[in-house]
């Protein structure tokens, strides 16, 4: 009996000590880690837009974030889009589920604050008031070149074979897919993990919205010429030609990982479809209300 008590006490104490060590380490490293993630995200964004490696991004290209919030009150639910109007002025545009405009609330905060998730959520909650609960849903980046929209960057998450797969997509203003990047996943190495390989990812490139809406996977080997083009083994012109040839085709599933392949194609389909609907609604409301936004 005495033994058990000493064992319990000592194990508890050592667990607590271990927790303290890990906690201190976490506090010291979390900032650097966040910074890394941010840098990586930026890099992925530019790569999706076609600025690989040292390629310089032109001055005229700008990125504008749109944060989507779900606002729930006791009787109703609505969507709030937080958009930057100019400088430190933000606008929360509230739209109900049928796409009708409800109201807009101005909000001031610094751009650094807007990037900080928790701070931004708090600010939004403050202006909405205590009667409603606000939940952050997702964020989209509108890329403009000289004030004209050239692309949207959408980040999303969906269920893979094992856990969530988090991706970033680039689509052009007509919702043709420009690129797909897998940010995080825990699929099996050698099987599902192949989703991050070029020959799978690049299959999505250049698929028009009409095809994406009904995209599925086929269990067939990738034709040799297509595979070469997907891996970038042929020159630019050839890649575009082959991509055009295959643009109406479904996605070729990965060998031994049909579920992962299907998860990705369904996930991408869902994200793009929902986004297309949302952005149309938002654009309509912005035009109706004569709200000027930089994109």
């Amino acid at each position: 009996m005495k033994d058990i008590i000493t064992i319990v006490v000592r194990l508890t104490v050592s667990c607590l000590l271990a927790a303290v060590v890990m906690g201190v380490c976490f506090i010291f490293t979390s900032n650097a880690k966040k910074h890394n993630e941010h840098v990586k995200e930026q890099q992925v964004m530019y790569e999706l837009l076609g600025y690989k490696g040292d390629a310089k991004v032109p001055e005229s290209v700008a990125m504008h974030e749109i944060y989507r919030y779900v606002i729930t009150t006791v009787e109703s639910q609505s969507i709030g889009y937080l958009v930057a109007v100019h400088g430190e002025e933000f606008l929360l545009v509230e739209i109900d589920l049928d796409g009708k405009f409800l109201k807009n609330i101005p909000l001031t905060m610094s751009e650094a604050d807007a990037l900080e998730g928790d701070l931004r959520d708090k600010k939004v909650q403050e202006i909405v008031g205590p009667s409603a609960t606000v939940k952050f849903a997702d964020q989209t980046v509108v890329v403009t070149d000289d004030g004209k929209r050239i692309a949207y960057l959408i980040s999303g998450k969906f269920q893979g074979f094992k856990t969530f797969v988090s991706v970033m997509l680039a689509v052009d203003p007509s919702f043709t897919l420009l690129g797909l990047e897998i940010l995080e996943h825990e699929e099996d190495p050698g099987l599902g993990a192949e989703i991050e390989k070029d020959y799978f990812k690049n299959q999505f490139k250049g698929k028009p919205f009409a095809v994406l809406k009904n995209i599925d996977v086929v269990k067939a080997p990738i034709p040799a010429d297509y595979l070469k083009a997907l891996n970038g083994k042929v020159d630019e012109q050839e890649i575009l030609k082959i991509r055009d040839m295959y643009k109406d085709k479904d996605i070729y599933a990965l060998t031994g990982a049909t579920i992962s392949s299907r998860a990705v194609s369904n996930g991408v389909k869902g994200i793009v479809k929902k986004f297309a609907y949302r952005v149309t609604v938002l654009d309509k409301v912005l035009a109706e209300q004569r709200l000027t936004v930089p994109f």
């Binding site: 033994d3 000493t6 064992i7 000592r10 194990l11 050592s14 667990c15 271990a18 060590v21 890990m22 380490c25 976490f26 490293t29 979390s30 650097a32 880690k33 890394n36 990586k40």
Partner: protein, 205 residues
């Protein structure tokens, strides 16, 4: 039990006469799985070195407080703590290396060599000796991983540290996991041969 070896002897023992991979044949799983390049071997070796030294010192400091019945859970807890610390630090300050070997760093918790050194050495010996034993074993593991990585990278992809040296790929087989066993086996034979040779020479003198 007093330890009659000097610090230097403890370190060299870990690298040569009791090399964790070639002589003790512990932690064979990572030795075979990860050592496809010299760089991988070096990175994992450094991580193991840190975890081994920190865990050895921690256990050695608290050795009188550890109840003998729960010593294995305590070792595991200690190792897991230090692995988490290394994991966090690597993720924060060396993101590129972490992306490549992050999954293996977490596996260090289950490396036999670390638990075995805690059980055999650190829980009986003073802090200073435990420290040097940890350094020796860690370095031994690192050297072993790098040697295997060197052979496999050179023969498998004709490169060393990622730089193309041979210009062609002699035997692709060496990149595959199964080849790891061959390399480890050959290295063991080589180490044994050296030892026998050395002993004979000494016997003659």
């Amino acid at each position: 039990m007093a330890n009659d070896k000097s610090s230097l002897q403890l370190v060299t023992r870990g690298i040569l006469s009791e090399n964790p991979i070639f002589k003790l044949a512990l932690s064979m799983c990572p030795a075979v799985g990860i050592s496809t390049t010299v760089m991988n071997g070096l990175l994992l070796g450094i991580a193991v070195l840190f975890v081994q030294v920190f865990s050895s010192v921690t256990i050695s400091i608290f050795k009188n407080l550890i109840h003998p019945r729960i010593r294995i859970p305590t070792y595991t807890l200690t190792i897991a703590t230090w692995v988490t610390v290394i994991d966090l630090v690597l993720a924060a300050y060396m993101p590129e290396a972490y992306a490549k070997m992050g999954i293996f760093v977490k596996l260090i918790v289950a490396f036999a060599i670390i638990t075995m050194r805690l059980e055999m050495f650190a829980c009986k010996e003073p802090v200073k000796d435990s420290f040097w034993d940890g350094v020796g074993m860690g370095l031994g593991f690192m050297v072993g991983m790098m040697v295997i990585g060197f052979v496999r990278e050179l023969l498998g992809s004709g490169a060393v540290f990622g730089y193309d040296i041979l210009g062609f790929k002699p035997l692709l087989f060496f990149i595959l996991p199964s080849a790891g066993f061959f390399v480890v086996g050959l290295m063991m034979a080589f180490f044994n041969w050296i030892e026998i040779f050395y002993k004979r020479k000494k016997g003659l003198q």
